[in-house]
């Protein structure tokens, strides 16, 4: 899960990394008030959990409270790469000398954490790596021994920091490492890590992706973070929120009119490809993973159908761990409870398929053994025939 910037910054502050002064605003009025309290130019930053926010025009500067109000009213409610921010972070605008980068993530090939340091922060770190390879330094860390301050000093020296900067930079890395290892981060970044006129370091932006599979052991930590206001009961943010609340691991929307439910990531992606090949367009996609229950598939069908554009639901099940009788029960429960008017096309194969198919037949739910027949049928329904 990607934490919101304000949540990540709260963690940074707790671990001793300086961040700009500021607060969250849920309205334009509130943004103006915070700007007037800060008494200087401010940055107004949409709180969304997607990348490319700045390029989408959702991070802006305001010279005074009036301008802050105007900008906040535009940013609140704008579409930021498919998300609508319910609040903005209003922060003092910092006068900076230069921008650095500090981040930690996993090196999957070498099976260890890797620290990435750069003297060119603020821009896409991938393009720095491509165009200015000398300005970026990497250091892999032994997963059993962990990080030590000398690693930080080595990296700071390699990216050409001055003697006085080396200590500050390596202390930021020590803090980032503490967050990374104590809170199961998948990626943590201070970028840009700004150098001010007085030489101090301030993290202007922060990124913190928590490993989804570690959430169970970070629940106290997550509860402690400030909460995002619940999205209004319509739109993508709300449907995502609902899917998550019901324990659906993957929920994705595209532009189309077919709802797809699958019980495996690989077969789910195959289903999407085959739908596209057959001339259909997927609107909503739920993937349930290999530990699905009757309840979960019932929720998945329900979440997919909250999209008004969906005209047909295609369910592709080919389970090893997932039991087809459980899946059939979930689909039958949905049909009994909601008597849907839209067609539901089921493809079912795998462990306990005979039992599953019997349940579907008892409820007069049509099913296919062949995936392509199911896909073609769903695409036909989506075109209104």
């Amino acid at each position: 899960m990607q934490l919101y910037e304000f949540q990540a910054k709260q963690v940074f502050r707790e671990y001793g990394i300086s961040i700009p002064k500021g607060r969250l605003a849920t309205s334009a009025d509130q943004a103006a008030q915070i700007a007037s309290e800060l008494g200087r130019a401010v940055a107004i930053k949409a709180q969304v959990a997607v990348g490319g926010r700045g390029l989408a025009g959702a991070v802006k500067f305001a010279a005074d409270p009036n301008e802050a109000e105007k900008i906040a009213s535009t940013v609140l409610g704008m579409d930021v790469r498919g998300e609508t921010p319910t609040c903005v972070l209003v922060e003092e605008k910092m006068e900076i000398v230069r921008e650095l980068y500090a981040g930690i993530t996993w090196d999957y090939a070498n099976k260890c954490p890797v620290i990435v340091a750069s003297s060119r922060g603020g821009v896409d770190i991938e393009s720095v790596a491509r165009n200015h390879p000398r300005d970026i330094a990497r250091l892999t860390i032994d997963p059993f021994r962990g990080y030590s301050a000398y690693h930080g000093r080595e990296l700071a020296t390699r990216i050409g920091l001055t003697d006085s900067e080396v200590g500050l930079y390596s202390s930021v890395l020590s803090s980032l490492w503490a967050i990374f290892s104590e809170h199961d981060a998948e990626l943590i970044e201070a970028n840009p890590l700004a150098v001010l006129h007085d030489g101090a370091f301030v993290a202007l932006d922060s990124k913190f992706n928590l490993d989804d599979k570690s959430i169970y052991r970070q629940s106290d930590f997550i509860d402690r973070l400030g909460k995002m206001p619940t999205p209004p009961p319509e739109g993508l943010a709300y449907r995502r929120f609902r899917a998550k609340e019901r324990g659906i691991p993957t929920y994705i929307e595209m532009e189309g009119n077919i709802g797809v439910v699958a019980d495996g990531a690989g077969s789910g992606m195959l289903t999407l490809d085959l739908v596209a090949d057959a001339g259909g367009k997927t609107r909503a996609y739920c993937e349930m993973g290999g530990e699905a229950t009757a309840q979960l598939i019932e929720s998945a069908v329900q979440v997919v159908l909250t999209n008004e554009d969906v005209r047909v639901v295609l369910i592709n099940l080919i389970g090893g761990l997932n039991l087809m009788d459980e899946m059939a029960k979930g689909i039958a429960n949905y049909v009994v409870a909601h008597s849907p008017k839209l067609p539901i096309v089921v493809r079912m194969s795998g462990t306990r398929e005979d039992e599953g198919r019997r349940i579907l037949s008892e409820h007069k739910i049509e099913f296919f053994d062949n995936l392509y027949d199911a896909v073609e049928t769903a695409v036909r329904f989506s075109k209104g025939s």
Binding site: V50, G51, W106, Y108, A109, K111, C112, P113, D124, E126, P143, F144, S181, D184, E186, D211, D212, K213, S214, Y216, R217, P249, T250, I252, M254, A262, D263, G264, A265, G266, S267, G268, M269, L270, L272, D273, L274, V275, A276, D277, E287, G289, G290, E291, I318, G319, G320, L321, S349, G350, T351, E353, L371, Y372
Partner: protein, 290 residues
Amino acid sequence: MAILVDRGTRVLVQGITGKIGSFQTQLMVEYGTSVVAGVTPGKGGQVVHGVPVFDSVQQAVHQTEAEVAISFVPGPYACDAAMEAIDAGLRLVVVVAEAVPLRDAVRMLAFATGRGTFVLGPDTSGLISPGRSKVGVQPHRLFTEGRVGIISRSGALSYETAKTLTQNRIGQSTVIGLGGGPVWGFTYRQALEMFRDDGDTDAVILLGEIGGHIEEDAADYLRNGYPKPIIALIVGRTAPPGQKMGHAGAIIQQGKGSAQSKISALKRSGALIASAPREIPEILRKELRL
């Protein structure tokens, strides 16, 4: 002789007394896998589907000479269980748990490195050599004995492909699930090396997906030539970028790991590209003159 496991390979099941572990053990025993021991700490002395249960892997190995482990231990405890099996010297450990924390997955895999144990997974469907042994969770009715090897990240995609082959009367030698990623013990490269030397395998199907770069790594390996036909299928061609498609590894970021880059790399290395499982039987018939 199939790769990795064969008729009579002595298999140990970790987490055998749990609901999933016990049910899947029953299926493996029915299939003919020689499951010789189970392990659940504190449940030693019990018997599950005719299999004796021990308190530790060490004890189980000592008593039964188990060679290979499959673990149904849930995510939070999976790392400890895998390290116990690696420490006991098993040559292959199959980690089924889907929700293994990333930090734990990295630790278990780093621990296995240099200790001579292959780790399959985590989040894997395991492996099956149809008609000989199944150390996994595959719906085995969809599989049939034969001479085509399959390597897949996704379990379900390997079932789909095996089902298509079986319906077309093309059997499989060994079918391997690598796991959902983003970090893997066993990868395509090692599986390709084993299939190359396997006298029972005539062709290999490589089932990949978007994200990460283990398919590109496989393409690098294949570039120097491979003595058997390779058929590759990459799914996620139409997935939107920047989204996790269910598997932790399946995400296109900043143009990296796209289906197109994988397909081009594999094609350049001589693999034949299929865009759906149903195209594979015909390619195989042509290549193998079936």
